[in-house]
C-alpha cells in the first residue's frame, strides 16, 4: 500500500490538498468501490460523460468543506439539465473544478467511516450510521489503526443499527465487505503516518452487492 500512497501523493495537483476526485482515485486503487466520475477543469461545461445517468455534479475542491451548504451539489441530473447545472456551478465557483458522477441506486441506511489522530493514542478509525443524521444519531464505534477484520466486525456489532446486517426488514446488507473496507481504511490511515490528519467517507451505501463510497474527504498535514 505504501508505494500506491506515495505515488498518489506525488501526483496531487496541489501538494497535500487532494480534492474529492483525487481521494476517490486513491480509494479505487485500494480496491474500494466509488461511483464512476470525471473531473472537469474550471470553466468547462460542454461534456457528455461516457457512463449512464442520472448524474451528480459537485464542486470539487479541497478548499470547500461544506459543498452542500454552499449549493455546490446538484443531483438527479439527466442529459437535458446537466449542462445547466454545470453552468450554475461554474458561475458560483469559477475557480473550482467540477466532478460529474453517476448517481448510484442503493438500499438500506447510509454509513460513515473515517479516521483521525487521537492525541493520546494516535491514529484511530470510526464506523457508524452516516448520512444527514450522522451527528444526531451518534451511532459510531472507534478503534485504533491498524485493525484486523474480526475487530472491524466487532465495531459493526457495537452499532445500534447492527440489525440491518442481520436481515432487518428483509435487507440483505453484507457486513463482511464493510469490515474489510474498515481494515483498508485503517491501513490507509496508518500508511499515511505523519501526513494523515482526518478522513471522512460519508455516505457509504450498499449498491450492486457491494459498499460504494459516495463522498470522500481526506485532509493531510501540510509538511513544512
Amino acid at each position: 500500500m505504501k508505494s500506491i500512497v506515495d505515488q498518489w501523493r506525488s501526483e496531487l495537483s496541489v501538494t497535500d490538498r487532494p480534492d474529492e476526485y483525487e481521494v476517490k482515485g486513491l480509494l479505487a486503487q485500494l480496491e474500494l468501490q466509488v461511483p464512476r466520475g470525471i473531473r472537469l477543469a474550471p470553466g468547462v461545461t460542454g461534456i457528455v460523460p461516457d457512463f449512464q445517468g442520472p448524474f451528480a455534479a459537485k464542486v470539487c475542491s479541497a478548499d470547500i468543506m461544506h459543498k452542500t451548504d454552499l449549493k455546490g451539489v446538484h443531483l438527479n441530473l439527466g442529459p437535458g439539465n446537466l449542462a445547466a447545472a454545470l453552468g450554475a456551478l461554474n458561475s458560483a465557483f469559477p475557480e473550482a473544478s467540477i466532478l460529474v458522477e453517476e448517481m448510484v441506486a442503493f438500499e438500506g441506511p447510509e454509513m460513515i467511516a473515517g479516521g483521525l489522530i487521537d492525541p493520546g493514542f494516535g491514529p484511530a478509525v470510526m464506523v457508524g450510521a452516516g448520512g444527514i443524521l450522522t451527528e444526531i444519531a451518534q451511532d459510531v464505534a472507534f478503534r485504533l489503526a491498524p485493525l484486523n477484520e474480526a475487530e472491524a466486525r466487532r465495531m459493526l456489532m457495537e452499532l445500534k443499527i447492527y440489525p440491518v446486517f442481520e436481515g432487518f426488514r428483509g435487507l440483505r446488507l453484507d457486513p463482511t465487505p464493510l469490515a474489510r473496507l474498515m481494515v483498508t481504511v485503517s491501513r490507509l490511515v496508518d500508511t499515511l503516518g505523519p501526513h494523515f490528519d482526518q478522513l471522512d467517507l460519508n455516505p457509504i451505501v450498499w449498491s450492486r452487492a457491494g459498499w460504494t463510497i459516495l463522498d470522500a474527504k481526506l485532509m493531510l498535514h501540510k509538511m513544512i
Binding site: M65, G114, D118, P119, G120, G130, E135, L144, E151
Partner: protein, 469 residues
C-alpha cells in the same frame, strides 16, 4: 543499574526500609509513616538530624550514615529537602525511593524544576522513584503500609487479589474506604503521584506477572505512553482482568476539527474503542472501579448472558428483572428460562405458593435450607449462566446460617453467584461477612446486576482474544 526496570519485588517486599524525616513528634507525617511501618517487622532505619532514636529505633543523623543494602527509602520531608535526600539515597545505591512531598510539577515552574532534578537523579543512579506527591504503597498481605492518611482498611484481609494503582491519592483512599466497608480483597495499593519515574506501565507489567494478583484496577488522569500501555495491557488481559478509570477528558488536539469523524470522537470516544480493542474494561467512577475489581477478582467470567434471580421478596425479583433487561454498557443480559426439572426441584424444595420460575420468589416464609437447595437447582441448570441471589435476614425463618448456605455453593462455583443484601444499618457488616466467606455481595440490585455485566464483558474479551490472539 541497581534495580531491574521491571522487577519491583524489593519495593513490594523489602527487607529493610529507611524513613527520611522520621520523627518522634506526634502528628508529623514522618512519625505516622514510621509508626505504620513498625508492624511490617522489616528492619527500619529512621533518619533524623538530631534525635538519637525514633520510637525506640536507633536513628541515623544523615542518609550517608545508613548501612548499605537498604531496599526502600521513604522520603517524608518537604519538597526542597526531599530532592537532596533523594540524591543522598541514590548515591547510597538504595534501589527504590518513595517521595511523599507535594510541591513539584503540580505547583508551577519552580516545582517543575525540582521534579526535573528528581528525574535526573533517577536516571543518573538507576534508582527507581515512586512519586513525588505519592501516597505510597500498601501491601496488606505483607503488612507493609507507607500511607500516612487514615484509610478505611479495617475490613481488608490478607490474601486479596486486586492491585489498585491510582494517580490520585485521595480518590485512592476514598475508594479503599468504599471497598473495604463491604469487604474487598487487595493485593497492593500504589499511589502513583506525579509519575516522575515509575508509572502505570511499570505496575501493569509487575502486577500482570505477579502470581498473587488476580485483577488490576487503575485510576488514571493521563496515560503517559498510550499505545504502549494498551499493547502491554493486552499481554495481561488473557490472564487477568485490567480495569481502568480514565478520568479527565482530553481535548481532541489543537488542530481544527473539520470532519464528522473528528466531531464524533468528541472528547474521548476513541478511548472507549481503544480500551475495547485491547481488552481493557472501562469504568467511570470510584464505585464502579471498586465494584468491577471486586467481582472480577473473585468470580469466573460468565459463560453467557442468562441471569437467574433467587429472592425471598417478589418486589426485588421484579426490579432485578427490569435491570437485567435494560441494555447498559452495550452488554445485553437476559432473564434465563428455567428448565422444567429446575422448576420442579425448586418447588419440591420450597412451598406450593412459591414462584418457581425466574425470578424465583421463595417468599418471606423461606428458610436457609430452601435457599441452598434452590441454589443447587439453579447452578445445575444449563440454561443459567449467572445467579443473583437476594439475601435478606429479616424473614423469621432465615438465620445467619444463610451466609454459609450460600458460600458453600458460591465459593468455588464455575458459574458466578452474586449476592445482593440489605439489612438496614447492618448491611455493610453482612456484606463483609459474605466477603469473608468468599461471596461477592453488593448493597443494591443495580450494583449486583452491573457486576453481572462486568463478568459477561470479561467473557467477551476472552472470546475475542481467543479469536485473534
Amino acid at each position: 543499574m541497581t534495580a531491574n526496570r521491571s522487577d519491583l519485588r524489593r519495593l513490594f517486599n523489602p527487607k529493610s526500609i529507611a524513613v527520611i524525616g522520621a520523627s518522634n513528634r506526634k502528628g508529623n507525617i514522618g512519625r505516622i509513616i514510621f509508626e505504620r511501618l513498625i508492624p511490617s517487622l522489616r528492619k527500619l532505619y529512621p533518619v533524623h538530624p538530631r534525635e538519637p532514636d525514633i520510637m525506640g529505633y536507633e536513628a541515623f543523623p544523615k542518609v550517608a550514615a545508613l548501612p548499605d543494602g537498604i531496599d526502600v527509602a521513604v522520603v517524608a520531608t518537604g519538597a526542597e529537602t526531599a530532592v537532596s535526600a533523594a540524591e543522598a539515597c541514590a548515591s547510597k545505591a538504595i534501589p527504590f525511593l518513595i517521595i511523599v512531598a507535594g510541591g513539584f510539577g503540580e505547583t508551577g515552574s519552580e516545582g517543575a524544576r525540582r521534579e526535573t532534578r528528581l528525574q535526573e537523579i533517577g536516571d543518573r543512579f538507576g534508582t527507581r522513584i515512586l512519586g513525588p506527591n505519592s501516597l505510597g504503597i500498601f501491601v496488606p498481605g505483607e503488612r507493609l503500609d507507607t500511607i500516612f492518611v487514615e484509610h478505611g482498611d479495617k475490613a481488608l484481609g490478607p490474601g486479596g487479589g486486586v492491585a489498585f494503582i491510582t494517580q490520585s491519592g485521595s480518590v485512592g483512599v476514598e475508594a479503599l474506604g468504599l471497598a473495604s466497608n463491604s469487604g474487598y480483597g487487595m493485593r497492593a495499593f500504589v499511589g502513583l503521584g506525579n509519575k516522575c519515574d515509575l508509572d502505570e506501565l511499570d505496575f501493569l507489567d509487575y502486577f500482570g506477572r505477579d502470581p498473587e494478583t488476580t485483577c488490576l484496577a487503575f485510576y488514571l488522569e493521563n496515560i503517559a505512553h498510550g499505545r504502549r500501555f494498551l499493547e502491554r495491557a493486552r499481554q495481561v488481559t488473557p490472564h487477568k482482568p485490567v480495569i481502568v478509570l480514565k478520568a479527565g477528558r482530553t481535548p481532541s488536539g489543537a488542530r481544527a476539527v473539520c470532519s464528522h469523524t473528528g466531531r464524533l470522537a468528541g472528547m474521548d470516544a476513541v478511548v472507549n474503542g481503544a480500551f475495547r480493542q485491547y481488552g481493557i474494561q472501562r469504568v467511570i467512577d470510584d464505585e464502579e472501579l471498586c465494584d468491577a475489581s471486586k467481582c472480577l477478582a473473585m468470580l469466573p467470567p460468565a459463560r453467557g448472558p442468562r441471569v437467574a434471580v433467587l429472592t425471598p421478596a417478589g418486589g426485588f425479583g421484579v426490579m432485578c428483572a427490569d435491570y437485567v433487561e435494560a441494555d447498559q454498557r452495550g452488554i445485553t443480559l437476559s432473564m434465563a428460562t428455567l428448565a422444567p426439572q429446575t422448576v420442579r426441584r425448586i418447588r419440591e424444595a420450597s412451598f406450593p405458593f412459591a414462584a418457581c420460575t425466574n425470578p424465583v420468589d421463595l417468599t418471606a416464609s423461606a428458610d436457609d435450607g430452601m435457599f441452598g437447595r434452590s441454589l443447587d437447582a439453579l447452578m445445575e441448570d444449563d440454561g443459567v449462566d449467572i445467579i443473583i441471589c437476594t439475601a435478606f435476614f429479616a424473614p423469621p425463618a432465615i438465620s445467619d446460617g444463610l451466609i454459609q448456605e450460600i458460600a458453600d455453593r458460591a465459593r468455588h462455583s464455575p458459574k458466578p453467584v452474586i449476592t445482593f443484601t440489605q439489612y438496614g444499618p447492618f448491611t455493610d457488616l453482612y456484606l463483609r461477612r459474605f466477603h469473608d466467606a468468599g461471596v461477592v455481595g453488593f448493597p443494591s440490585i443495580s450494583r449486583a446486576v452491573r457486576a453481572a455485566r462486568f463478568l459477561v464483558e470479561r467473557a467477551r474479551i476472552l472470546a475475542a482474544l481467543k479469536e485473534h490472539p
